[in-house]
Structures are given as structure tokens and as C-alpha cells.
Symmetry: C2
Subunit: 319 residues, 2 copies
């Protein structure tokens, strides 16, 4: 099969073997895959990753010993727990210490003709949801995780830092439960997308309000937390969404002095994200797509995704 | 009056004016003052502090227009809010943006013959509580703040990093609500104090358990959070108690990947701390005292407090 492979560089391989399918797993023919900030981090050396990247996808089950799944169009939860530890028994497979993570750790990803996942990780995509919308279920789930983690009354003022796809999805999601949401970013053309939910937008240099109840850090930088600490009120909450492994020189004493709570936030609820997309047919997910490249142009796709001007870059694999 | 004064060095002044007493404030004759990690930070330049330090004290009200307070033995909450902002109206004067803080910001501290505080900040010390115990009400309140901030079921496993007085007080406080508490430190002679509550102790190099539900960082270092991130389980909680303004090179991605919650924690409930001391007459607070110096030896006292081997160093002002 064909696949994008990260080694020292990005390579497009043409003759890789189709992965074997374990019992209770599914072989998935990938239609469309998304490039995420984490993929760009992996590309730069995060987790010393080698192999097939990709964890945002929509595809069709080509093979499985769970026959009912065959032919179903699916998206998939990316964490695969060991299934035997205490965490897995409590339903926390996404935090299992021995977990594999699709395209991130111990399991080849979806930027290939085929990938494999346990059938328990799969979600059947409704027939009336396009591939171009379904491919956003994974990042939207990550955005909805913020609402799952932070108890909100509805009266909070929230600021989202970062006008990339994740920041915009977080802003849209929070606007469903909060009236006062502000999206902060450098790019007027990206900020425009916040308008779907009448979300206030502002460039970082113009922020004056430093009393947000909730600040979501989705800039993809190590220093976003500095900005977040400056904007968050005493006893407010900062949610960290950026997985950036490089360190930064940080003074965390404002967290202590202002008794701020910082919540690390990663993957989220797929079912809720799928339902959210079904329920909001006017949500302009397609406008988040900057470009769709064929797999043969994956190098260009990654360069495009990394240039800071684009929103979501997709790779079309089996259109 | 006499006072310890931080300028470029530590000076002992002998002829400073007694501070004026505003309406509804009290002039307090200080008996005993404690040196805290924050004082050592201020000494090193934290907040560019100049003036009289000290925020841990017990004393007697010498003067006030609220006559009932005259002659009372007191301790005092150290934050003085503006009294007019929205935060102050909500009872959050300790987080008022215009607050003064005794011996830390905008208000001379208690390492002097006299200091002043609003009568609303004062707590009458019970007659049967010695000065040597009452002077621990402020740091014990800071320790109890951990229990006030983090919702605990009683089943959590907690690790406290740092065997200084604050770490030991946090361990004692947590042991009241949790069965499984471990205190981590480098000093066997300090760790011994954890025995009052049968708290498990260990040196940092011997820790093997990396699945604590709660990690309290009380090392007074900027890098304690690195150690805390390594010991905290996925979706666990880290409480930061150290106000250290210097930055450190930190990689916070473990917070995101493991969805850890970090809670900044500062001052706590005085009344609860006073009641805690009254209720636990066998709590060996006196054993936390390494030395008591007269004010004339304040330079030695600060050197002593900073040497890493001592626990609490006190300055006796009006014995």
C-alpha cells in the first residue's frame, strides 16, 4: 500500500505491506486524513516519532472479524489501551500507561491507504455527513473536551488564544454554552470564521481585558501560557491544549499568587463531536479547509500546513 | 521603633516612627515573627521589595478606634483589599487587584516593634495557645488552603514534595483527610516530624510510585513542578505552593498529554488554622522551630533560615 512515512524526512512509500488485522480490530480504507499541529510537532522530532503519521481520518472498514462493521464508514478514537490495567478497566484507556496512539505512539497512523484500529474505537459516520465534515470529528472532540473538563455556569467570560482550527473549534464549542467568548489571533482571515457564532475577535496587541474566567491556550506554542496567565483573573482557569514538547523559560509564580487552576486537555468525546456536527448543519467546517492534496503531494501538504497562514490541510487518499 | 529593613542589604533600624493607625485599623505590638520562604525570595529581589518584611506574627493590639480589640492577643490575615472593587465585595480581598499585603506589597511587615492591619483582618488568639504555636497559624492556613481548593474523597494517594515547614504542615493537614500521604524530602531529621501523623516519608531518589492522585509542590524551587509532573497520575492534581519568581526552563506538555490539573495555592483560612491548632494539642509545632533570635540578630536569623538545614526561624520582638 501507499503511505506517508516520517523518517528523517517525509517520504511517500508505494509498496508497504497492508497491516495485519488483530482479532476484534478493523482494517480501514482511509478516505481523507487531516494534518494537525501534533503531526507538525512529530515532524520536528516530538516523541522521536518514526513511521506513518496521521490520527485525523474518515474511512471505510475493509476487513474485520466483527462482520457487522464491514463496509461501514467510520472515524476512530485514536488511543488504544492495553485493556488489562486498572485505568483501562475504569474506562480511561486514553490514559493507559501502555497505550498505543494512532499515528503518534506505537501504532502506524492514517496517512496511508489502510490503517487498523480496534472495533471498539470506531464510530459509524451518519450517511448524510460528508467526509469533509466527518474528518473534523477528532479535532472537534478535542475542543469539546474543554467543556467536559471545566464546570461552567454559562456566565463565564472565555478567551481562546490561537486562531488555528483547534482554537476556532474551541471558540465555536464554548459559544454553545457561554455568551461571552473572545477568539484571539493574528490572522484577520482566520478570525472571520468566528463569526458563525457571533464570537468576538481581537488581535493580541489590542486585548485590554485581563479578567477572563477561562482562558483556552491553543496557540501551539510553549509560551502561550505566559499570555494566558496575564489574561486570566484570580482563581480563574486556564486550559492548555497545545502539545509542544520543547520547553520554554517560564515563571509560574502568577499561578500561585493568583490561585489559578491550569487544566491540561487532550483528546475528547467522539460521540459528542459527531452529534454536534449533525445538530449544526450550518457550522462552516468546510471553511476550515485550506487545501486538499493527493497523497503524492504530501510533502507540499506538510509544508503548507506548517506555514502559519493555512487552516486545515487535508490529504485525500481514497476519494 | 525598631525594625528589620530590607534595602539593598538587611538593616536593623532603631529609630523608625511608629506607623499611623487608620480608622478601623489596629496598631499591633509584635511578640514573635516567623521567617518564611517568601521572605527569603523578597530578600533575593522578588517583587523588588523595599521596606519592613514579615507576614507571620503574633502580637497584642496596642491601639485602635475599635476599642474592644485593645489588649487582645492576635494574629492577622495578611491581604488588605481596597474594599470597593467587585472582588472585595465578593469576599475575595485576598485577590483584589489593588490589595496591599503585609510585609510583601505596599504595607510594612511585622518584623518591627509595631505593625498595622485592619481590625477585620484580626483573629483573637485563645489564651491557652502559646505565642510559639500561634505564630504558625499563617503558614498552617496556607497548608489548609490545599484542602479547601481540592475536592478529596479520602481515598486519594497524596505526595508532598518538600520537607520545609510548609511541606510538613501540608502533610499534617492532608493526613487528617487522607490515609495515604507521603512526604518527600532530602533531610532525614526534618522528615522525622511527619511521624506525628504516621506519614510515610521517603527521599526523592527512592520514589518508585508515579501514580499519585495529588502532588503538593512545596519545595520552594522553580523546578519542583517537573518532579511533580513525573509523580502525578493521568488526570491527577498538582498543587503549587511555591512562590518563586525566577523562571525555569519547563516543558509543560506532560500536563496536556496526561490531562493533569494544576492548582495555584497561596493564603488560606485563618480561623480553620487556629481551630486546627486548638483541636490538636499534640501537634508538635514547637519541633518545627529551629531557632528564635532577638531582632538585633536578624541578619543571623535570615542567614540561618536560608541555609537549607533549618526548619522555622523565628524573631522574638516583644517576648
Amino acid at each position: 500500500m501507499r503511505a506517508v512515512v516520517f523518517d528523517k524526512s517525509i517520504e511517500i512509500e508505494s509498496h508497504l505491506p497492508v497491516p495485519p488485522v488483530p482479532l476484534s480490530w478493523a482494517l480501514i480504507r482511509v478516505h481523507l486524513a487531516g494534518i494537525c499541529g501534533t503531526d507538525l510537532q512529530l515532524r520536528r522530532g516530538y516523541r522521536a516519532f518514526r513511521g506513518i503519521p496521521g490520527h485525523e481520518f474518515v474511512g471505510t472498514v475493509a476487513e474485520s472479524d466483527h462482520f457487522a462493521w464491514k463496509g461501514k464508514r467510520v472515524v476512530g478514537e485514536i488511543n488504544v489501551g492495553c485493556g488489562t490495567c486498572a485505568g483501562c478497566h475504569q474506562g480511561l484507556q486514553s490514559h493507559c500507561g501502555n497505550r498505543k496512539v494512532l499515528g503518534i505512539s506505537g501504532l502506524d497512523g492514517c496517512m496511508a491507504d489502510y490503517c487498523v484500529l480496534p472495533v471498539n474505537n470506531l464510530f459509524n459516520v451518519p450517511d448524510d455527513m460528508s467526509d469533509e465534515r466527518a474528518v473534523f470529528i477528532e479535532p472537534l472532540a478535542a475542543a469539546l473536551e474543554v467543556i467536559a473538563q471545566v464546570k461552567l455556569s454559562g456566565k463565564e467570560r472565555a478567551i481562546i488564544l490561537g486562531d488555528g482550527p483547534l482554537g476556532i473549534l474551541c471558540a465555536w464549542a464554548l459559544s454553545m454554552v457561554l455568551d461571552r467568548v473572545t477568539l484571539v489571533g493574528h490572522h484577520p482571515e482566520k478570525l472571520k470564521l468566528a463569526k458563525w457564532r457571533q464570537i468576538r475577535t481581537i488581535t493580541p496587541d489590542r486585548i485590554q481585558d485581563t479578567s477572563a474566567d477561562l482562558v483556552v491556550e491553543a496557540t501551539g506554542t510553549t509560551t502561550g501560557i505566559k499570555h494566558a496567565m496575564a489574561l486570566c483573573r484570580a482563581r480563574g482557569t486556564i486550559v492548555l491544549k497545545s502539545t509542544v514538547e520543547e520547553g520554554a523559560h517560564l515563571n509560574l509564580s502568577p499561578l500561585v499568587v493568583n490561585e489559578i487552576t491550569v487544566v491540561g486537555s487532550r483528546c475528547g468525546p467522539f460521540k459528542a463531536a459527531m452529534d454536534f456536527i449533525s445538530a449544526n448543519r450550518d457550522m462552516p467546517l468546510e471553511d476550515l479547509i485550506s487545501n486538499i492534496y493527493p497523497m503524492s503531494d504530501a510533502k507540499t501538504a506538510f509544508a503548507d500546513a506548517a506555514n502559519g497562514k493555512t487552516l486545515k490541510t487535508l490529504i485525500s487518499i481514497f476519494p
